[in-house]
């Protein structure tokens, strides 16, 4: 699956693919959070979710701009964000999962933030100066994201019977998408061997400890590692991403020269 999809590009540059994955994670989750606009449970919490979303969109801009430069065919951040179909996206399945209820959004954010914090902390030491600089900026943002999402996991889990039930359900439903965060492929291996990327497989115990500590405080049960759904980073996405992109891309695709 990986090889066929990557072969779609004439010259699959591993670094380009790698940065695209990072940028797409930020872009897709950022847009998902944006979908809460005018639908948040409370004004303050909605602004908080959108602040996190805007942080992620900002990260996506830095990363996709860099990806376009590495690719060298003239694609800028907008071309990469708005003119690719779902098959061209390289984000993790976890981040594209629909918002669901507030518990689903918070648990999705928490599981990803816990990973992202470890990932970008290590990416600061990348031999690629541009990625290292982006990581240094991003780590501060993610530190707050994790504080926010972990705080809400505890509040919901250790809250009322209803909030606990919903949060545990969200955790059980989303757990199957967590394995992909640590599933490395040949793109990872090349980029890690070059000292540029982070060995995601090695992050699993750090992530697990971070997650387990919060779940214990939240009186939630860590689901078992059974079958994991994998495929987002090689372009094999769920139907949900197609719907999301249709919404996200309609304006620039309908009016290619629109400016504002």
């Amino acid at each position: 699956m990986a090889s066929t999809d990557i072969a779609l590009t004439a010259d699959p540059d591993p670094l380009f693919e790698y940065i695209l994955r990072l940028g797409d994670n930020s872009l897709v989750l950022g847009h998902r959070l944006g979908e809460w606009c005018a639908h948040g449970p409370e004004l303050e919490v909605e602004i908080a979710l959108l602040n996190v979303g805007l942080d992620l969109i900002g990260q996506a801009r830095l990363l996709l701009t860099y990806a376009g430069e590495v690719e060298g065919t003239g694609q800028d951040e907008d071309a990469l964000a708005y003119l690719r179909d779902a098959e061209g996206f390289r984000n993790l399945l976890l981040v594209e999962q629909p918002n669901g209820d507030f518990a689903v959004t918070i648990v999705r954010q928490f599981l990803y933030d816990a990973f992202n914090l470890e990932f970008y902390t290590q990416l600061q030491h990348s031999s690629d100066a541009r990625l290292a600089a982006i990581a240094t900026k991003v780590v501060k943002e993610i530190t707050y994201h994790f504080r926010f999402s972990a705080g809400w996991v505890v509040r919901l889990g250790d809250g009322t019977a209803k909030s606990q039930r919903r949060t545990q359900t969200a955790l059980d439903e989303l757990w199957r998408y967590t394995g992909e965060m640590f599933a490395v492929d040949d793109i990872d291996q090349v980029v890690v061997a070059a000292g540029i990327g982070v060995d995601r497989a090695a992050l699993k115990p750090l992530w697990d400890q971070r997650v387990v500590d919060v779940l214990a405080e939240a009186t939630l049960i860590r689901p078992d590692d059974n079958e994991f759904a994998i495929g987002g980073i090689t372009g094999d996405h769920g139907e949900g991403l197609r719907h999301m992109l249709a919404d996200m891309q309609i304006l620039p695709r309908t009016h290619p020269d629109a400016t504002w």
Partner: protein
């Protein structure tokens, strides 16, 4: 849980080091930790602050507008309390 169940907090922001905290507004939150985070997200998203205080609104004891005359008007004719009766020697700056 509805927001109407959440207590009100007053938010004070310090813009820069050396300045004092100023009242920025109020918000609802379930607890003080959430109030602090909500204040960060609602009141400092345009880089307005370097420090935040949140105080439960019920903890603030305020003067009664009905006491205005007794509280504040007696000071109106006591201009000698203003430090404007001193001669400042030549060459002294920043007074």
């Amino acid at each position: 849980m509805l927001q109407s169940d959440w207590p009100l907090y007053e938010v004070f922001i310090r813009g820069r080091n050396g300045l004092s905290h100023k009242h920025a507004g109020s918000l609802h939150a379930a607890d003080s930790k959430m109030a602090l985070e909500n204040a960060r997200d609602v009141y400092t998203r345009r880089a307005e602050g370097t420090s935040i205080w949140v105080v439960p609104s019920v903890e603030i004891t305020a003067s009664d507008p009905a006491d205005k005359a007794a509280f504040f008007e007696p000071t109106a004719d006591k201009i000698y309390r203003h430090p404007t009766f001193y001669k400042v020697p030549d060459g002294v700056e920043n007074m």
